[in-house]
């Protein structure tokens, strides 16, 4: 099976029961195609400049966004081409194939997260189990952890928006420990993107990691880490142990309480600002959030990561596209998803074109 079919099988789950208006705060799918080809060209240029095609994921993971984030970009890149096909096909191919290879190398057991998002070896998991300062969970503390995830997740949703969430929130696992026990690791790698927001809206801590062991809860991760789906016992009733680490320090329950309050207030404040923005300002913010995903890579390649003048000119005083992706319609099947998002078209017009021709001997 080609990677795009594997991708499609998994990515279509994101839209099950979902209408496109559910994604906030902008109609992203009618916005990105206005300028995405320019960004794709910049990414292709950075990949080439750093010779990343010859490098394994393990050598370059420090300059790439998390795996879920790469998946989320693919789900924007492909429909952007469908909405506004460009001549820039080689760059689309190079970037899409590069992302697919990175995902296969980083998460070989489930690259497109059909069911899970495993990123750690058995030895690393063993180290977590033996070295972490675990707390015994009860209903009250498990509920508090749920509230922390809600507050941190909502903060990320504001800092990065609904379709860049995965840059600030990934979940790894589920890792089976015993027949009925699993470990989930929730990672908020950067709650202080100072290039996007002023200091007073940023969290006081940059990184939060939440480790939780559950019993008799069946977890599934669907396409991106934060899409956790549970079955069986409630996660609150099923949580047996937990630990929260912020900027390297393990937290006590009162410190966790403080984080819930702080993140809730800041999530609310940021989103109030977003809701107040006029259309022109909102378009520029969303463009900047999108470009920020490759800041580390572009910094390494000595390319400015911020939106270029050409990108900005494409959207300035321009309305969003209309009528390409359906509003108010539930996308229920893989077939519908593939048609609406142009999966077959992308495979035909991009991935199957420009095959390398062997040199004539």
């Amino acid at each position: 099976m080609s990677w795009i079919k594997e991708f499609s099988k998994s990515a279509s789950n994101v839209f099950k029961g979902q209408v496109l208006e559910g994604f906030q705060p902008l109609d992203f799918y009618h916005f990105f195609p206005l300028w995405y080809d320019l960004w794709v060209a910049s990414i292709a240029h950075a990949i080439k400049k750093l010779d990343l095609e010859s490098k394994h994921f393990s050598e370059i993971k420090g300059i790439l966004p998390p795996p879920s984030n790469l998946r989320a970009i693919l789900i924007k890149l492909i429909p952007s081409y469908h909405a506004k096909p460009t001549e820039n096909k080689k760059d689309y191919k190079s970037v899409a194939n590069f992302f697919a290879r990175m995902l296969k190398e980083s998460c070989p057991d489930d690259p497109f997260a059909l069911k899970s998002n495993p990123r750690h070896t058995n030895s690393e998991i063993g180290t977590f189990i033996s070295h972490i300062k675990w707390n015994k969970a009860d209903i009250q503390s498990a509920r508090k952890i749920g509230q922390l995830i809600t507050a941190a997740g909502s903060l990320v949703h504001g800092l990065y928006n609904d379709v860049v969430t995965d840059l600030g929130w990934d979940v790894y696992g589920p890792y089976t420990l015993k027949s009925n026990q699993v470990l989930l690791i929730r990672h908020f790698p950067n709650l202080r993107p100072k290039e996007l927001w002023t200091e007073k809206l940023l969290a006081n801590v940059k990184e939060v990691v939440i480790y939780a062991i559950y019993e008799n809860v069946l977890w599934k991760i669907s396409f991106v880490g934060c899409h956790t789906i549970s079955k069986g016992q409630s996660p609150v009733a099923g949580m047996k142990k937990f630990a929260v680490r912020a900027d390297g320090e393990f937290l006590k329950i009162d410190e966790i309480n403080n984080l819930v309050d702080e993140f809730s207030i800041k999530a609310t404040e940021i989103y109030k600002q977003i809701r107040k923005m006029n259309f022109e300002k909102l378009k520029l913010l969303v463009m900047k959030q999108e470009c920020y995903q490759f800041k580390k890579l572009f910094d390494k390649a000595k390319i400015d990561w911020q939106p270029t003048d050409e990108m900005i000119a494409r959207v300035k005083n321009k309305p969003l596209l209309q009528g390409i992706f359906p509003h108010g319609k539930l996308i229920e099947t893989i077939k519908e998803f593939e048609k609406i998002f142009g999966i077959d078209e992308f495979e035909r017009e991009i991935l199957k074109k420009f095959k390398k021709i062997a040199p004539i001997k």
Partner: protein, 109 residues
């Protein structure tokens, strides 16, 4: 006797009875009482303080991996999404029951 009011998508299991509170983006979260059932079009981060106080969440739109669905599961509270008309059919103060497994909302009064 409970009468079925709405059917949507069960996004987080659990059964709970409580008082409905319509709540929208930008509403004052301090006015949301602990244990009320949050009813909205779709949640957003301005509602986070209300969400952590809610006994259940009901939305007009959204799927199994939408913002309210994911966070309700994490907090272990029932959630029904994609009811299409919760904000029209449910009134403030209405006593309702939420079945987050079956995706049904019942009126108790």
């Amino acid at each position: 006797m409970a009468k079925i009011l709405l059917t949507g998508m069960g996004a987080s299991p659990g059964n709970i009875e409580g008082t409905a509170r319509l709540f929208y983006s930008g509403d004052d979260p301090s006015s949301f009482e602990e244990g009320n059932i949050l009813v909205t079009t779709i949640t957003d981060p301005t509602m986070v303080t209300a969400m952590v106080r809610a006994a259940a969440i009901i939305t007009d739109i959204g799927g199994i991996t939408s913002h309210p669905a994911i966070l309700s599961r994490e907090m272990g509270i029932p959630c029904v999404v994609n009811t299409k008309e919760a904000t029209q059919k449910i009134k403030n103060g209405m006593r309702i029951r939420v079945d987050g497994q079956k995706g049904k909302v019942y009126v108790l009064d």
